[in-house]
């Protein structure tokens, strides 16, 4: 895809994706709105800003770039973006989490077109993504691999096993995007178990580390479109985000990690997004 610099259009897509997320979770009666909303600009930049190469009509296309949603509980934003991209009909989004739906509560590659690997158990996706990066290296395939990692997920030890592996193997085709929204289920990261200093940690594991505003589309596109060197350091992009971004009463409120809005809250959220 060509780089899409039409920010007005991308912003409109972001608004639509947010509506899809809230509507899906409202109909499901459960799910994770906060960490889905914090990822909207990142996912829209990747899928509609000309960063990822993909073919929705050919999900197994061998030269596609791969995206692994390591923080699998943000499945709603992934599904909304995949539907928008054309992997499956948008009207199916509201079957999320229902019996017989192909949209499982957490991503599952065998259930949903466009989903590369199963995630949901934190700490595994980054490692799978690095495996893909190594597999592409053996194939001499120049595709890129992106892993979206939660900030709280950095508390999983397996993340740092992979950080060490990818740094050691100089897997420059791997980019990890850290959704730094500062909240996890039990509270603020600083009150639970802060993973700071995140930049220093990744740098110490031989990663290149950059920081961006995770809701600033021009900044995101600028960073994501920079050429990579396939046998150099992997890159960690620390994206500063707001949990629940875009819906006033959800922003920075930890309780919106994993609950669905009631009817009143749903209507208020949709009014805000339509406003």
């Amino acid at each position: 895809m060509s780089l899409n610099n039409n920010y007005t259009e991308l912003k409109n897509i972001c608004k639509q994706i947010r509506k899809d997320i809230i509507t899906m979770i409202y109909h499901a009666g459960s799910g994770h709105p906060g960490g889905s909303l914090s990822l909207v600009e990142i996912m829209v930049a990747l899928y509609f800003g000309g960063i990822l190469n993909y073919k929705p009509d050919k999900p197994d296309w061998s030269d596609r770039d791969r995206l692994v949603l390591s923080k699998g509980h943000a499945a709603p934003v992934l599904y909304a973006v995949l539907a928008k991209a054309g992997y499956f009909p948008q009207e199916d989004l509201n079957s999320l989490r229902k019996i017989d739906s192909y949209l499982q509560g957490h991503p599952h590659n065998l259930s949903t077109p466009g989903v590369e690997v199963p995630t949901g158990s934190l700490g595994q996706g980054l490692s799978i993504a690095h495996g893909i990066a190594l597999g592409l290296r053996v194939l001499k395939n120049k595709a890129r691999v992106f892993a979206i990692v939660g900030d709280g997920e950095l508390e999983e030890g397996s993340i740092w096993e992979t950080a060490m592996s990818a740094g050691y193997y100089r897997s420059g085709n791997l980019t990890a995007i850290i959704d730094y929204n500062h909240l996890q289920i039990d509270g603020n990261l600083n009150e639970v178990k802060s993973p700071e200093p995140i930049t220093d940690k990744f740098a110490a594991f031989n990663w290149q580390v950059v920081e961006v505003d995770g809701h600033d589309l021009p900044q995101l596109l600028d960073e994501l479109s920079k050429p990579i060197n396939h046998d150099q350091k992997p890159k960690a992009i620390i994206a500063h985000t707001v949990k629940g971004k875009g819906i006033s009463f959800m922003e920075n409120v930890v309780d919106w990690h994993g609950v669905a809005p009631n009817q009143e809250q749903y209507q208020k959220a949709m009014e805000e997004l339509n406003g």
Partner: protein, 321 residues
């Protein structure tokens, strides 16, 4: 008993199943450039080092990080590779269990988990290194299939078999040398078994290093005029349902002999199956609900009563019941 098998156990030739694994990997690697191997700092022990030496660009040592090794293997396989991932059984099936469940099996990736050093015969390293729960742990996961190498040639065949089959497998291998039981013409298949000795009085079902003691037990029973059928259940999940049903129908009962805890091993699974289809007397020669300890492999087998005498006693208990 068949003269050929008597000769094999009375004048045993010993060899390492894990060497068979390493050498077969090299053979597969020469035939197929879509074979990739990963290990977790035990390549010299698991014998994946043979592959590493020949195909350094298709080998990744993930260091001492078994969880990372397993999920990395899944990622590599998603690029169209058949990936063999090896370490000791306890670290592979224990440490990385949830990676196996939630990534390898749930995603149905083409990953072959081949563990060496399974069972009590790990020996002097002691309980921390003796995987006695691996069959139970992996059997409980949907999509996972399980095989066990009983000697050199069966391991060669099983490694080739799992490489040909799509999807995730667990292959269990011992540390120690095993008595050579098979010949070049023996065939192995998913859900199959090998009858090593024929008989209609009692059936002994086993796999791995306990095959040797099972055959010795059959020889002892034979001296008492009791014909024991000995089955190598090298395919553990799925196991050979027909062979088990035949054994239940044609002999007086079944003794299952395995280097594994009684809780959730092959014995448990055969019992679950037969209780629903053909209730049969079953006795178990397996590890009780306890940890192992240091000692030489044969001493440990004797200490925990994983012996041919135990198999004989359990057989007689069924026959005389």
């Amino acid at each position: 008993m068949d003269k050929d098998i008597l000769e094999k156990i009375n004048n045993p030739k010993l060899s390492y199943p894990r060497v068979a694994y390493g050498k077969t990997l090299v053979e597969l690697g020469q035939q197929n450039d879509k074979i990739v191997v990963v290990d977790a700092d035990l390549a010299k022990s698991t014998k994946t080092a043979y592959f590493q030496e020949k195909f350094p660009h298709r080998f990744f040592d993930m260091g001492i990080s078994e969880a990372d090794m397993v999920t990395t293997a899944a990622g590599i396989s998603s690029c169209g590779f058949t990936v063999f991932a090896s370490t000791f059984s306890i670290f592979l099936t224990g440490r990385a269990w949830e990676q196996i469940r939630n990534t390898v099996a749930y995603g149905n990736f083409n990953v072959k988990l081949v563990a060496t050093h399974a069972g009590i015969t790990v020996g002097p390293d002691g309980a921390s290194h003796q995987a006695l729960e691996d069959i139970a742990l992996i059997s409980a996961i949907p999509n996972m299939k399980i095989m066990a190498g009983g000697d050199y040639l069966s391991t060669v065949n099983l490694v080739k078999l799992i490489a040909e089959q799509k999807g995730p497998f667990y292959l269990r291998l011992p540390r120690c040398k095993a008595v050579e039981l098979y010949s070049d013409t023996d065939k192995f298949h998913l859900g199959g078994s090998q009858q090593l000795s024929s008989g209609n009085d009692i059936t002994i079902i086993s796999y791995g290093l306990m095959l040797q003691r099972s055959l010795s037990a059959a020889q002892e029973l034979n001296k008492q005029g009791i014909k024991a059928r000995v089955i190598d259940m090298y395919s553990i999940k799925p196991f050979d349902y027909d062979a088990v049903l035949s054994a239940a129908g044609e002999t007086k009962g079944i003794v299952v002999a395995e280097e594994h805890t009684i809780k959730g091993g092959l014995g448990s699974q055969i019992a679950t199956f037969l209780s629903q289809h053909q209730p049969t007397k079953i006795k178990y020669v397996s590890m009780k609900d306890e940890f192992g300890r240091s000692g030489e492999p044969q001493e440990l087998l004797d200490h925990y009563q994983l012996t041919s005498n135990s198999i004989v006693e359990k057989s007689l208990e069924i026959i005389n019941d």
